[in-house]
């Protein structure tokens, strides 16, 4: 099948994208004013110690040479050492990334399910109160930033009506599962530790809902308008005219073509969850990579900044390749045009 070669092409292309990203982020991180060695050691460190650290970090070399040292390390899995945590960046990423992944994946699942559900309902009951309600909610959902929603949720469900935990990933006193994937819910489930699973799950709810709202309602609106557009198409009239039952038309012949724009949008939204995660992680004291990355930027922790951005870039690329696969599965026009050149 020609679709395989299309995918291969996409993969090769994305390697170039990430390579380009690495150059850009490397340069930007270094041209920003401020001396990382001095910031790491503090204002009272003697100049020769600072000078030695600069040499260790190759900061005294010209930029291309610095890049060479850095990329050589990255390719062998060594992202350097964090100046703040004093640990290998790769270690830090291993620790912080799964927390954010768990949050983003959960938010992504919520986004996908509820966007399609609400969009379908709004389209099905167009111009009724159901539609108006969903559309009004959408305005709020799209307009309210994730961190504002996070604070509101925290107040509502953590303070006025405290039914859900609002800080960190696990309650104190709960024995965490042995680390396998780093996703607490998954790890605890694998090990049959249901107490930890339930607790970790409860911790996930508020931050992931806060994080998902923007994308969720945006996609719900896209689903709604795609459905309303398709419902007027001749093929739908034809299918109805052949006596195919309404539910088959709704959930098969209407839903599939209407999902294409939603899924395309979801790839972008899923990736931007990681960017939005920063404030949500800060508010819910979630030990994730977005928070880690931003604190690194405050401290001009070069290795960490570059590494976090490369990781985000890779996630973005992978998410979009997955979306391409899903879209190609939904839409034969995409799949076949790669082999027929239409």
């Amino acid at each position: 099948m020609k679709f395989g070669s299309f995918l291969l092409k996409r993969l090769l292309l994305s390697i170039f994208v990430i390579f380009g990203l690495s150059i850009v982020i490397f340069i930007i991180a270094r041209v920003v004013p401020g001396d990382p060695a001095r910031m790491a050691l503090g204002p009272r460190a003697p100049e020769e110690v600072v000078q030695r650290l600069r040499q260790e970090m190759h900061l005294d070399k010209p930029l291309p040479e610095q890049y060479f040292y850095w990329i050589r390390g990255v390719l062998s899995g060594d992202f350097g050492r964090s100046l703040v945590t004093k640990r290998a960046v790769s270690e830090d990423i291993k620790e912080f990334l799964p927390a954010t992944m768990e949050l983003a994946i959960f938010a992504g699942i919520l986004m996908a399910i509820f966007a399609v559900l609400l969009g379908t309902l709004a389209a099905r009951y167009k111009d009724t109160w159901v539609d108006s309600l969903i559309r009004t909610l959408s305005y709020f959902g799209v307009a309210i930033p994730a961190f504002v929603a996070a604070i509101i949720f925290m107040l509502l469900f953590g303070y006025y009506w405290p039914i859900l935990p609002v800080l960190s990933r696990l309650s104190p006193g709960i024995i965490p599962p042995v680390r396998i994937t780093g996703l607490l819910t998954l790890d605890s489930l694998i090990q049959g530790n249901f107490v930890a699973f339930w607790d970790a799950f409860k911790h996930l709810i508020l931050p992931s809902v806060a994080l998902s709202l923007g994308g969720l309602f945006q996609e719900a609106r896209i689903t709604r308008s795609a459905m309303i557009e398709n419902i007027r198409k001749d093929f739908l009239s034809a299918e109805r005219g052949y006596g195919i039952p309404e539910r088959v038309i709704m959930f098969k012949y209407l839903l599939k073509p209407s999902l294409i724009p939603t899924v395309s949008m979801m790839g972008l939204d899923f990736a931007s969850l990681f960017a939005n995660a920063f404030l949500v992680e800060t508010i819910f004291n979630w030990p994730g990579i977005s928070r880690y990355g931003i604190s690194a930027m405050m401290h001009k922790d070069l290795s960490v900044i570059s590494a976090v951005i490369i990781v985000f870039g890779a996630i973005f690329v992978v998410a979009n390749i997955i979306v391409d696969i899903i879209v190609a599965f939904l839409d034969p026009r995409v799949r076949l045009s790669t082999s027929r050149g239409i």
Binding site: D234, E239, G241, G243, K252, P257, D331, P332, R333
Partner: protein, 329 residues
């Protein structure tokens, strides 16, 4: 002559309005149309005069939420389609009437393979439930595709519509419509979006099916020649009303309504004479249609009475009805 008494479909005074910003488009303005059992009826008229709207009304498949039917009845075998329950409507669509659309590319769902689409049509039709040979859906699909002379039907089933040519797509649509026996076929300009040669093949195919199965058909067409060849009776439609109906022989020899006359005069003759002058003017606005006869603005024989109230269909001779005040002068 066909059986006079067995009326299959009888549309009476049908009005259909489309809701738009700023009011209603009053598209259909009292359509009367009748199809007897086994009869082949042609419907001609210029683009935008409401032919497709009339046909979609019969099956109640107008885009949901956008239309309004202020008055009229559509009797199918004596029962008013507009008053049917959902279940009765479903039965009408899956067993009694099937429609073939003008543009096969738009009428096939782009994201499903042919096999799925024709399979579902068969699955929810009488042909499947009442099949004596207990053929599978796939076997019946292949049979239907063979009947419209599609090459390699087995392979056709796994193709997406975009892998087929326009002519093939229209054959698939016809296969869907005839995959289970129906009493009435509605063919909405089935060749218009295709090449002339393909158009010809499609019309032949349709003609063959109608002859073989003895089904009734409403054939919408732009081509008066096709209508003359393939139908027993022709309805001429103008701006949402039926202006004249007669057998092809009578209509071609003795047209009464000025619009019918203009339409017949617009057909370019192969023997020469250049491009005909056609009918000057255009369709009236449906948002604010003129009161009275909708053709009055383009009519050369207008009269003050024409703008007072719409003329009713008047029987000038047997089976020849005309909606024009000229007949009463």
């Amino acid at each position: 002559m066909k059986n006079q008494e067995n009326i299959l479909l009888n549309i009476k005074d049908l009005h259909v309005w489309y809701r738009v910003y700023g009011g209603y488009l009053k598209v259909l303005n009292g359509v009367h149309l009748m199809v007897r059992e086994g009869e082949r009826v042609g419907l001609v008229g210029e683009a935008g005069c409401g032919k497709t709207t009339t046909m979609k009304s019969i099956l109640q498949i107008l885009p949901p939420g956008d239309f309004h039917i202020p008055q009229g009845q559509i009797f199918y075998k004596g029962q008013d389609v507009l008053k049917m329950s959902f279940k009765e409507l479903q039965r009408l669509r899956s067993r009694e009437i099937a429609m073939i659309f003008q543009d096969p590319t738009a009428a096939l769902n782009p994201v499903f393979i042919i096999g799925t689409q024709i399979g579902d049509v068969i699955k929810y039709s009488a042909a499947f439930e009442e099949n004596e040979h207990k053929e599978t859906i796939k076997e019946q699909s292949i049979k239907a595709l063979k009947e419209v002379y599609l090459p390699d039907p087995e392979r056709m089933l796994i193709n997406y519509p975009l892998q087929l040519s326009g002519g093939m797509k229209q054959r698939v649509c016809i296969a869907m419509a005839i995959s289970s026996p129906r009493n009435l076929l509605i063919a909405d300009e089935p060749g218009t979006s295709l090449d002339v040669t393909i158009q010809d093949q499609i019309m032949r195919l349709l003609n063959e099916i109608v002859e073989k199965r003895k089904t009734s058909i409403i054939l919408i067409t732009h081509s008066l020649g096709v209508a003359k060849e393939m139908t027993d009776r022709i309805y001429v439609m103008y701006a949402g009303t039926i202006v004249e109906t007669a057998t092809p022989e009578v209509l071609f020899k003795n047209p009464v309504h000025p619009y019918t006359k203009g339409l017949l005069a617009s057909v370019p003759k192969i023997s020469g004479g250049g491009i005909t002058k056609g009918i000057p003017g255009k369709l009236p606005s449906y948002l604010n249609p003129p009161s009275g006869c909708r053709f009055q603005l383009r009519c050369e024989q207008g009269d003050p009475i024409c703008s007072e109230k719409p003329p009713q269909l008047f029987e000038v001779e047997k089976d020849h009805l005309v909606a024009c005040y000229l007949t009463q002068r």
